[in-house]
Amino acid sequence: MTRVQAIQNCNDFVIKFANVNGSGSSSANELFARAVIRMGVPVAPRNIFPSNIQGLPTWYEVRVSEAGWLGARGGCDMMVAMNPQTWDRDVAAIDPGGYLLYDSTKPLPQSKFRDDITVLGVPLTDICNREYEDPRQRQLFKNIMYVGALLALLDMEFAAAEKLIVDRYRGKDQLIKANVNALRLGYDHAKANLPCPIGLRVKRADAVGDRILIDGNSACGLGAVYGGATVAGWYPITPSTSVIEAFSSYCRKYRTDPDNGRARYAIVQAEDELASIGMVLGAAWNGARAFTATSGPGISLMQEFFGLAYFAEVPAVIFDVQRGSPSTGMPTRTQQSDLISCAYASHGDTRHVLLFPEDPHECFTLGAQAFDLADRLQTPVFVLSDLDIGMNERLCAPFDWDDSRRYDRGKLMTYDELEAGKTFGRYLDVDGDGIPYRTIPGTHPTRGAYFTRGTTRNAYAKYSELGADYVYNMERLRRKFDTAKTLVPAPVLRNAAQPTRYGAIHFGSTGPAMAEASVLLEADDVHVDTLRVRAFPFSDEVMRFIAEHECVFVVEQNESGQLRSLLINEGEIDPKKLVRVLHYDGSPITARFIAGKIANALSDRKVSPITTPLRKVAP
């Protein structure tokens, strides 16, 4: 190690694990991340898994941040290089002054290393071969062993990781013993042979609180259970598949009839996405809460049905876990690029309700809420998550549920109301909010049945091709969309430390990076109010925020500025006022990127006339 000073950082660094897929590394890596959390220090773990490289390398990145920054940071302070195939690029990826931990069983030529990093070798294979007979065990415990070595190198509490193992395998004493033993082997070897601790350290803190670590797709599946979904139709597609897997396993746990073991839910793997959404609509038309989970290509296939659902006013919930598109377009990389194809999905004058969860906690809350909104508004509701939140575990607020809450099934006309002679017009605006009443098949022997179809009908669902009937219907649907604005979750405003003419609008998984970027900018005396939009249609607060700022950055993870387009289109905003900050290389957006773009844009603007009165500083 010459010239470059070794990196010295406590509770603030990025460590990356380079592994071979299927080698059992993921649970060991997760053990490491959770051990840091158990020491009261927040982490943000992320999987990076290319879809099409031979040998299937995977990476797992853990950002350790006592300050609590959960967005990706970029860079790499330490690499745990366990995949010989990607060795060269992994070694090259380490920041100058960083650290390399590797399996030193086989000697490597000097040319395979760098002289500006600290190289730490542990003969993992050797130790494993010595300790274990079974080849599978050798592989699995090798992973646990490098976690043990890391505990020593980073000065972590051995007991924290040990306790995790005990918790994880509760009741399986053999497994606990074997895992703790492997952990100990790695730990002891490092202590005896390596310069422990190194410049990167984890020190006990109190910055985690009661937060939980879970992935967004599991949280969506749980949200669907709590939201009362009983029918799921789906077709496998990365990165959405685990939403259904989670729904299925939570249903087995929570929705199995205790008396007879029968299912209070139905999950059908359809033949394609057309059939999945068709099943959802059939079930919802028939009064069950139903959903599907998919990604961009699936959304494309479902378009015709979205139009039918919009015009026939059938509730539906669609979890869209966004990724690069098309099918051969970076399917394992994150993006926020389905906004437009969802917002205006289908033929004719359609517009749909979209919800944008920021993290797994919101995947759960908005996921559950989507079912109430869909029933209340009698329309499809899209929950737009993405791969970054969906397939990575994220530290977030614990789940909670108000037991007094009842599902809002919306305007359902009952047998008693029909029997009492109440007028039923399926597409009649009785209450002035654009939302009509509906009946469920089988409600009443002689009243309330109707023939469901698109728009060739009048307010009483009788066949009609009259222009006046069509216009009545479209105006009512417009009123309904206005009603939706008042029902969807409100945006989250975060004011800068001092009044400013600049604002930034963002949504979904950009949240953590945006929050961190604000702090970075503030350190340079650049102040930006931020607004995290949580739904489409945009509530009045969103438009007010734009009106109150002279220049608004729209930060998003796509190439065309889709949220910006929606804002311009729906709010009739002057496009010049909305400045694009776009990140779309497939990696999650970082605070450094956002802050850099905003700072550059502002220095380009230099002097600009003040046209908007500044917000008063709070007293």
């Binding site: 959390i37 009661d210 670590l213 879970i214 749980l222 259970v225 709590y226 009362g228 009983t230 029918v231 139709g233 929705r255 073991g261 029968r262 299912a263 209070r264 839910y265 139905a266 999950i267 059908v268 359809a270 033949e271 057309l274 059939a275 999945s276 959404i277 068709g278 099943m279 959802v280 609509l281 059939g282 079930a283 919802a284 038309w285 028939n286 009064g287 069950a288 139903a290 015709e304 049905f305 039918l308 026939a312 614990p398 789940f399 909670d400 549920w401 037991d403 009842r406 599902y407 009946t439 098949p441 089988g442 022997p445 049945a449 109707y450 023939f451 469901t452 698109g454 009788k462 066949y463």
Partner: protein
């Protein structure tokens, strides 16, 4: 347009079924199809079948795709909910509806374009999945609603109204249904209500995926000479394998079995199908034999009709999924939401 004359006042002596309903209670809106369209006869057969079976109209859900045929659910069972969905996708919508409420009777109505062309995938998968439904294809060999283009069931060599000869091989939906796992498969002709009504009744009582391919001539675009789906052609080439009588469980004691009955099939709900053999020695419990018979006769230019296959020991989709007895759309909050305590326990596992 067909304006079936409907007297304003119901005569007091109109026959009533066990529920006290007259046939009128099973009718729907006035048909807007062409006068003489085969589809209207099928609608009439559905009305008669439901009346005869004492089905409560509001306990039926009727679903369809797009086409003249798919419009017909508006013209029968006016007290049933109907869903005119999208082209070729009725099977998935029906599947979803059936998942939501296992206690209704599901009637899917489709056309040959709707099921054999754009919707062949959904048709196939609904059969595979064992959806408890009666699936009727009103098969006229053309796209009626878009004015007479050949559909995928048009026979090779069949001539269009404009004189074009069809060069593509036909899809035989009944043969496909047999192969894909439908447990009740029939073919009939809209011009033969004696045959059609009992076949629909048997299907409605079946308890699993029941498929009926009904040749239903399009008088406007496919009823000329040279067409193999015209009234005349079908009458001349119809080779019925059997005649069915459906006897309801409650009627069984009084019913004397019709003479010539060779086979009795007891369905899951207790209804009995009486099958009278016609001419050929045909065994409707032999699925492979049925497929072979269809192929052989088709090669001879015959249109095989009748109950082609029935398997009375059916298990439907709900049995496969082991869903609770109570319809999913009727489960209350308490049965669906695990509540805050379960969440607290889950949170603890995630720390």
């Amino acid at each position: 347009m067909t304006y079936l004359a409907k007297p304003k006042l119901l005569s007091a002596d109109a026959p009533r079924n066990a529920l006290g309903y007259t046939r009128r209670d099973y009718e729907g809106a006035i048909s807007t199809l062409c006068a003489g369209c085969g589809h209207d006869s099928i609608s009439a057969a559905v009305v008669q079948a439901c009346f005869d079976l004492d089905i409560e109209p509001h306990k039926v859900a009727k679903l369809s795709g797009i086409g003249c045929s798919s419009k017909t659910p508006d013209y029968f069972l006016g007290n049933s909910h109907g869903f005119n969905s999208v082209h070729g996708r009725m099977p998935s919508v029906l599947t979803g509806a059936a998942l939501a409420n296992r206690n209704l009777t599901y009637l899917g109505v489709s056309g040959d374009g709707d099921s054999a062309s754009i919707g062949i995938g959904q048709f196939a998968h609904a059969m595979r999945r064992g959806v408890n439904m009666t699936y009727i294809v009103e098969n006229n060999g053309v796209y009626g609603l878009t004015k007479g283009q050949f559909s995928a069931t048009a026979d090779k060599g069949s001539k269009s109204k404009k004189g074009v000869i069809n060069s593509d091989s036909p899809i035989d939906l009944a043969a496909l249904a047999l192969q894909l796992g439908a447990t009740y498969v029939a073919r009939s002709f809209s011009g033969d209500k004696e045959q059609l009504i009992p076949l629909i009744k048997g299907a409605l009582c079946h308890g699993g995926p029941a498929f009926i391919d009904v040749i239903s001539p399009c008088v406007t675009f496919n009823n000329h000479s040279g067409s193999t789906k015209s009234y005349d052609y079908v009458r001349e080439h119809n080779a019925a394998v059997n005649r069915v009588d459906v006897i309801l469980p409650k009627a069984q004691i009084e019913t004397s079995y019709p003479p010539g009955s060779l086979r009795r099939v007891v369905q899951h709900d207790g209804s009995i199908l009486h099958l009278r053999k016609l001419g050929v020695d045909y065994d409707p419990s032999d699925r492979i034999g049925a497929i072979n018979h269809l192929q052989e006769r088709q090669a001879l230019g015959e249109i095989v009709t009748g109950l082609l296959y029935v398997n009375s020991s059916v298990q439907d989709m709900h049995a496969h999924l082991n869903t609770v007895e109570k319809p999913l759309n009727q489960l209350g909050d308490a049965y669906l939401c695990p509540g805050s305590k379960a969440l607290d326990a889950l949170n603890a596992l995630l720390r």
